[in-house]
Subunit: 236 residues, 2 copies
DNA sequence: GCCCGATTCAAACGCCCGTTTGAATTGCAT
DNA sequence: ATGCAATTCAAACGGGCGTTTGAATCGGGC
């Protein structure tokens, strides 16, 4: 009824509704990851959560808003932790020279910590996030942009400082490559099978030990032009 | 009727049916990219292609088989070109030492050439492919695995030769990172907006000039352990 | 000129979707 | 105990989905 629509922004209604809300969020996180947003129906979702079909619209308003809530629940704390870590290493290095490694790690570690924290969604969520990056739905794209804009801007400045040999534009591209490798890897527990056995990311610390040297070397590389020109047109 | 099901494997029925089939494939490539597989309905797809609704099932059997046909049309030639280029540089370097750059370029250039070839789908297709990588649908995953297995295996051997300092497992991970950065970048004409203006990949040769130094440096980097250990647990 | 397989077409099939409704139920403040 | 807002529930709404059907149309070989 009319009440339900405004009820969501009522006074703190934790213990009573949080249970249903949380069960919906948990089931949604799992199913959206398993089958994607479009392919997950509210009927199977609410059944998995053990709640009534109408509960999603009552508590979240719509399926799209539920999806955003699923992302927000994990992204907000993670990105906040990223910013806090960056601020701390900036503060610690009262002098100027920020090392590329430290900035990169400040960015990677919160993601890895989230992946490791099974109580809070763990790998499920990062896989979901990795796929959301590639989703063309406008409501997902604009939502993610808003969620990340602030953090990305901060890190871009920090990297610019740590990698003075890169122009702003060159750095923008490289951060893009970094995010690509990261999201693809985190999203890929399935995709890994494309390449080989690979003992799976059972150990996330190990994954960071593999990913970090690759990304640091890529970031530090001199831009093309310092090395020989390439003749890519060839071939025919 | 019963005929239609077997007709697809009849004798070469080019000029007559190819027109309808091609129009379906072109429209599908565009719409699957724009809205994703699930969110694209056969009704809007056949309307965009200017063909009858039933034409998809008649010519391709099902929506899923249409999707596979869309991928195959571009992937088969691209991966074959990748293998041919690898074989050529292996042949040219009659001696042993294959350079990492050359192997990587043999892998990247066919993708870039496809992206540049607007007559054959161009960027549309690579964006579609990038998203297919991240799609969890089993029929997509197994299809892509089959399409890529052979090519990936060949390149893994070549890289193993060009990068003798990497163990097989380390290399598997790094190829994964490479594919992540590549697919994310190719898929991302939208996603780029996440980070900044970035003049868009209007010039694909320029993109390769930015991507290549990053990836080469990442591939050549010594594995962790050669550099200092990291203390990632910290933070609390 | 006709025939027959290949193709196109309009219509329908059964199914599941996201959302809404209004009545039951709950549980806390009074 | 009662009242009332917050929540849950079963049921239904309208609509779009992928697919199937059988008739209409096409077009080259005899």
């Amino acid at each position: 009824m009319a009440v339900s629509r405004t009820a969501r922004k009522g006074v703190a209604l934790d213990a009573t509704s949080a249970d249903t809300k949380t069960r919906i969020l948990d089931a949604a996180e799992l199913l959206f990851m398993e089958h994607g947003f479009e392919a997950t129906s509210l009927r199977q979702l609410t059944a998995a959560a053990g709640v009534n079909l109408a509960a999603v619209n009552y508590h979240f308003g719509s399926k799209e808003e539920l999806f955003q809530a699923v992302l927000t629940r994990r992204l907000d704390p993670m990105n906040q932790e990223r910013i806090e870590r960056l601020e701390r290493i900036e503060r610690d290095a009262a002098g100027k020279p920020l090392s590329c490694e430290k900035v990169l790690f400040a960015m990677l570690i919160p993601a890895l910590r989230l992946a490791r924290d099974e109580r809070r969604g763990g790998k499920n969520f990062l896989r979901l996030l990795g796929r959301a990056y590639a989703d063309p739905a406008p409501f997902i794209r604009s939502f993610l942009s808003a969620q990340y804009a602030q953090m990305i801007a901060r890190y871009k400045e920090a990297f610019l400082q740590a990698l003075p040999h890169l122009s702003r534009q060159e750095l923008t591209w490289r951060l893009h490559f970094v995010m690509g490798a990261l999201s693809y890897t985190l999203a890929g527990t399935d995709a890994l099978k494309l390449f080989a056995q690979v003992g799976a990311a059972d150990n996330d610390e190990l994954l960071l030990q593999r990913l970090a040297p690759f990304l640091v070397a890529g970031l530090k590389a001199p831009p093309m032009g310092d090395t020989r020109k390439l003749e890519l047109v060839s071939g025919d």
